[in-house]
Amino acid sequence: MRRRTVLLASALGAFAARPALASDARLKVVASFSILADLASLAAGEHADVLALAGPDVDPHAFSPSPADARRCAEADVLVMNGHGFDSWMEKLARSGGRKARLVLATQGVATIRARAAHSHGHSHGHSHGHGAVDPHAWQDASRAAQMVRAIGRGLGEARPAASPAIAAQAARAADELLALDSWISGLFAPIPKEKRRIFTSHDAFAYFGARYGVEFRAPRGVANEGEPSPADLARIIRDIRRENAKVVFLENISSPRVIEQVARESGARVGGRLYSDALSAADGPAATYQAMMRHNATLMRDAMVA
């Protein structure tokens, strides 16, 4: 008799536990591109499984979602996008998905920088960054990335109220980690005199990095995401490199290397490696996570400045 009661109690317990289990189950989160996916996993910790649509080394500007991507969005609980016209295809996927997944804007409440007019991206894929001319690459500043992690955490909490306090705590821990990274980067550049903090690269995606850490970036307009730069542009950057006697120019993982290699040949600078701006590297690369990417970029830049 006692035995049966115990059995019954445990059966009841299992029943009672089921709804709780469902709300404890990990959230299914789909982020538009690799960097944002990593920030989302930082924010969610063990509370979510995060998937990126535009994966490592894939240029989110040039990304076009496949039907499988649409299905992943339809099955997700939360969609995370960057906004500011950077990944507007995500909104379309969210609308066409059928099921209402919660759409979280990662840059909600994050202060923006206006894209410089002379460097208006003009990415030629029908979605220029012309949306109010706001530069979308906010994650290149680790302190802003910390705010993005908090924003994502808030969104995840709203999608799963039961786990909201736990997620908020996790997101706060992750944000603190990123703030530590932020001061590490600041410290890295601190000893370098202001006039040496200048980087020549192939894609103008580092305005936030530059504003936060006091680095000036020069990029020939249109090299990264358009097939054809103008020769006057190349001439300008080659003259700049010669005049300032810069030793190093950088490639980026998402852009074609041919033009910047030509710039290097012509100016006598060497190609100093690969910066990661809009996509992480593959798992075995130097920038497999957001924090690894920021450390990798900052270290390469520092080495170029003191070269």
Partner: protein, 291 residues
């Protein structure tokens, strides 16, 4: 206020990439001029365009196998375009479908295959951008390849000139005298594809045909003989290359489209004022005599 030296010479004196671009595009004009004229005469003007797209799947497949190697992509593109050209040519000879229709089918098929392969690659660099190429990014290897193709093409066109002219204007005669019509045609297609691949290295697939067809069409309004047309087409092509680069440097425009644009302006001027069938000389028959 920039003087003529600053405008016309200084960009090339100061920057090696401008010199490379000039050498590459002038070499391209030399190789493509004669080929374009014969394409025009054979009423195959759009075949060049079709074949330039047939380069895509070969180049994309080579990219998937060998990575971002321009040599491998050129070889792959050459093989794919040549296969397309020979297959379409052969099919149109044994089936009732005309050559242009066969070419259209093959070109659309290979374009689709190319886009498919590109997306299979799934790498960060948007391969299409690589395929579009840039005359500003021509390196030593590409320059040597372009010059070699132009040289070989001019020599081969000179050797084949008579046979090509006969095959062009009087294929019946060629057949009646037992001339190697099919072989000449095949050789011409090989030259065509080689020039397209060279143009692809410099200008990318999108602009590859521009330096081939536009000067040839313009030349038609200046010369009546084949040799004259070839001379005029080559000259217009080379001048468009130079003026297009000057324009793109001065006005801050992309180079490839600028070159083709200048060639287009030369074409418009030829249509209007050309001595052989131009609009103005026809309306005012003696205008050109009065100067």
């Amino acid at each position: 206020m920039p003087g003529p030296y600053d405008l016309l010479v200084a960009p090339f004196a100061e920057f090696a990439f401008m010199r490379r671009a000039l050498v590459a595009s002038v070499a391209l004009a030399l190789g493509c001029g004669p080929v374009g004229v014969f394409l025009l005469l054979r009423r195959m003007s759009l075949v060049g365009d079709a074949l330039s797209h047939a380069i895509l799947p070969g180049a994309a497949a080579a990219f998937l196998v060998a990575g971002l190697s321009l040599g491998a992509m050129a070889l792959g593109g050459f093989a794919a375009a040549l296969l397309t050209a020979l297959a379409a040519g052969a099919l149109s000879r044994v089936t009732p479908l005309r050559e242009d229709a066969t070419f259209a089918v093959f070109y659309l098929f290979s374009l689709a295959l190319g886009v498919l392969l590109v997306s299979l690659g799934g790498t960060g660099i948007d391969l299409l951008h690589v395929l579009f190429g840039s005359v500003l990014a021509v390196d030593d290897a590409a320059l040597v390849a372009i010059a070699a193709v132009a040289t070989a093409s001019m020599l081969a066109m000179a050797a084949l000139h008579r046979a090509l002219v006969v095959e062009c204007f009087d294929p019946e005669f060629m057949r009646a005298t037992g001339g190697p019509g099919a072989a000449i045609h095949a050789a011409f297609l090989v030259l065509l594809v080689a020039n397209l691949v060279a143009a692809f290295l410099a200008l990318g697939t999108l602009m590859a045909v521009g330096l081939m067809m536009v000067p040839a069409a313009a030349a038609r309004f200046w010369a009546r003989g084949v040799a004259g047309m070839i001379a005029v087409a080559t000259a217009i092509g080379a001048a468009s290359a130079y003026l297009g680069l000057v324009l793109s440097f001065a006005a801050d425009l992309p180079s490839g489209p600028s070159i083709v644009l200048v060639a287009g302006i030369a074409y418009a001027a030829s249509v209007l004022f050309g001595g052989a069938g131009g609009v103005v000389p026809r309306i005012l028959p003696r205008a050109h005599l009065r100067g």
